[in-house]
């Protein structure tokens, strides 16, 4: 990725709110515009990531910011919605179709299991079209190669400890291993506190060509070094597929990560921070190896050594992750970008990772979508 910078970031806290999605999205969008020092009328294109809101949702969000007459495009790709918006915005700038793009992700997700994840009726009625089942089966596979229930609990303990210092997180209370293990069993081995809660929130960024950022004297531009986006390949398995090849199963995350590393010209060892899709504790552990932070089978070792905690070699989810922030589906990817940019700017406060210069964000969604973004100085 050449010449694309993140010129501004904005966020509406993740949680539960009275306000409608328009208000949440506009809040994040306004904040990102102000942070970049531009007006809506300076923007060439607005991209809005969202899953559940109704018709012309992006238009309704932007309506609260202003009537600048600029193109507005809605982007939906389940949990990878705002990652997809980011991918599209970056490509528009890279290929000269825009100089300034505003990306907004917003969601007001209902409580409980995410339904309507693309399952056919026979899967839902027949009892197998259930999102946490997929994550539980993945966790069982991890346990068959050395991950323990304690490890799964400790991912959640770590991320909740990180979130104590994140004012935008929904759950900001430390919890110990026993509390996680003793919370309600959802699908063994996953307990309620090992699964993220779908919730509400918004995040935004202003992408800008680096020349434009320089010309405007943008305060703290952060380079967008890579953004990849992949969909289902022949041998992937994720929600809502009911089957997969027994041998040679591939990972969407690993493929998206390889593309992003290639584009950025960096290796996993160059990263200072990672924000990954911790839909559940097992998904964070699986991401360790899929993102190349460790070899397959060494996920628990990386966690147990403290490497992925704040203060460790490669902190994962310093924001608290989705486990602590909750997951507003259409906003999660841009929420990760918000944290990465804060960290690279050195503005992350108590949870600042010393000298953070290069960060990676990762989202993965139903329907087989994964996106990886790499930012840096």
């Amino acid at each position: 990725m050449q010449h694309v910078t993140v010129a501004g970031i904005g966020i509406h806290p993740f949680g539960r709110f009275e306000a409608g999605y328009q208000v949440l999205g506009a809040h994040a969008g306004r904040e990102a515009l102000a942070d970049a020092g531009v007006a809506l009328s300076d923007v060439d294109t607005v991209l809005v990531g969202n899953v559940g809101a109704g018709m012309a949702k992006g238009q309704n969000v932007v309506d609260l910011i202003g009537h600048a007459g600029v193109p507005i495009i809605n982007v939906e790709a389940a949990c990878a919605s705002s990652g997809s918006a980011l991918w599209l915005g970056a490509r528009l700038i890279e290929h000269g179709a825009a100089r300034i793009v505003l990306c907004i992700g917003v969601e007001k997700a209902p409580r409980g299991f995410v339904a309507a994840s693309g399952y056919e009726d026979w899967q839902i009625e027949g009892g197998i079209g259930v999102n946490p089942v997929y994550f539980a089966l993945q966790a069982q596979e991890l346990m068959a190669r050395g991950v323990s229930a304690d490890d799964l609990a400790d991912v959640s303990v770590k991320n909740h400890r990180h979130a104590v210092h994140n004012p935008n997180a929904m759950y900001r209370r430390e919890m110990d291993r026993d509390e996680v293990l003793e919370s309600r069993m959802v699908c063994p081995p996953l307990t309620l506190l090992m699964l993220c809660a779908p919730n509400e929130g918004a995040a935004a960024c202003v992408l800008m060509h680096e020349d434009e950022a320089r010309r405007r004297g943008v305060r703290a531009p952060v380079r967008l070094r890579a953004v990849s986006l992949v969909s289902r390949g022949p041998d992937d398995w994720f929600v809502p597929a009911p089957s997969f090849p027994t041998e040679g199963r591939t990972s969407l995350t690993a493929r998206a990560a390889r593309m992003a590393y290639d584009e950025a010209g960096v290796a996993p060892g160059d990263l200072d921070i990672v924000e990954c899709q911790d839909t559940d504790s097992g998904s964070e552990l699986a991401a360790y190896s899929d993102l190349g932070l460790c070899a397959g089978g060494d996920e628990a070792g990386l966690l147990r050594g403290g490497d992925t905690a704040l203060g460790g070699r490669i902190p994962v989810n310093p924001s608290g992750g989705l486990l602590s922030k909750g997951e507003p589906l259409g906003a999660s990817g841009l929420g990760q970008l918000h944290e990465l940019v804060l960290q690279v700017r050195g503005d992350a406060g108590v949870r600042q990772v010393d000298g953070a210069a290069t960060g990676l964000g990762h989202v993965m969604g139903a329907g087989h979508n994964a996106s990886v973004v790499i930012v840096g100085r």
Binding site: W122, I124, G127, V130, A139, E141, P188, S243, T246
Partner: protein
């Protein structure tokens, strides 16, 4: 996508089974979960690509991996259980009475398929041989499930 076979048996999706042998309806009984399994082992209908050899379930006419035509195949009724979990709370839209087990069955043809595991109250160990059987939903329609195979006497 409900189909009615000549024998009057309705499936949750008309192309899941390679054949429906004389399935006898039995009422679901919460105390005897094995009783909701109707009849003998059945074969699931899958497809094998004539080009790359990949197997898909449910069956595809054209291979989504390479585009070549796929042939219908009947999977072995016997498979081996891989990862297994349980659903303890009613999911949205589900008709199977909780709690129930869900596992992945690994078929000799090289495909792994998710399904309800019936005839067991505890998670069976990895590699347990399972038979593919018909399972009656509360509305009378059939889907498939995996049941630990009887141990030889």
């Amino acid at each position: 996508m409900t189909a009615e076979t000549t024998s009057g048996v309705r499936l949750v999706r008309d192309d899941l089974f390679a054949g429906v042998p004389g399935v006898a309806h039995q009422s679901a009984d919460a105390d005897e979960r094995a009783d909701i399994v109707a009849g003998a082992p059945i074969a699931l209908a899958a497809s094998r690509c004539t080009g790359c050899g990949r197997v898909h379930f449910p069956a595809r006419e054209q291979c989504p991996a390479c585009g070549a035509p796929s042939q219908r195949i009947a999977l072995d009724t016997r498979a081996s259980l891989g990862a297994c979990t349980a659903v303890l709370h009613p999911p949205p839209g589900g008709l199977v009475e909780v709690p129930y087990l869900v596992g992945v069955a690994r078929f000799p043809e090289g495909i792994s398929i998710m399904g309800v595991v019936t005839g067991a109250t505890q998670t069976p160990p990895q590699d347990t041989p399972v038979d593919t059987v018909a399972m009656v939903l509360p509305d009378g329609r059939l889907t498939y499930a995996f049941r630990p195979a009887p141990t030889p006497q």
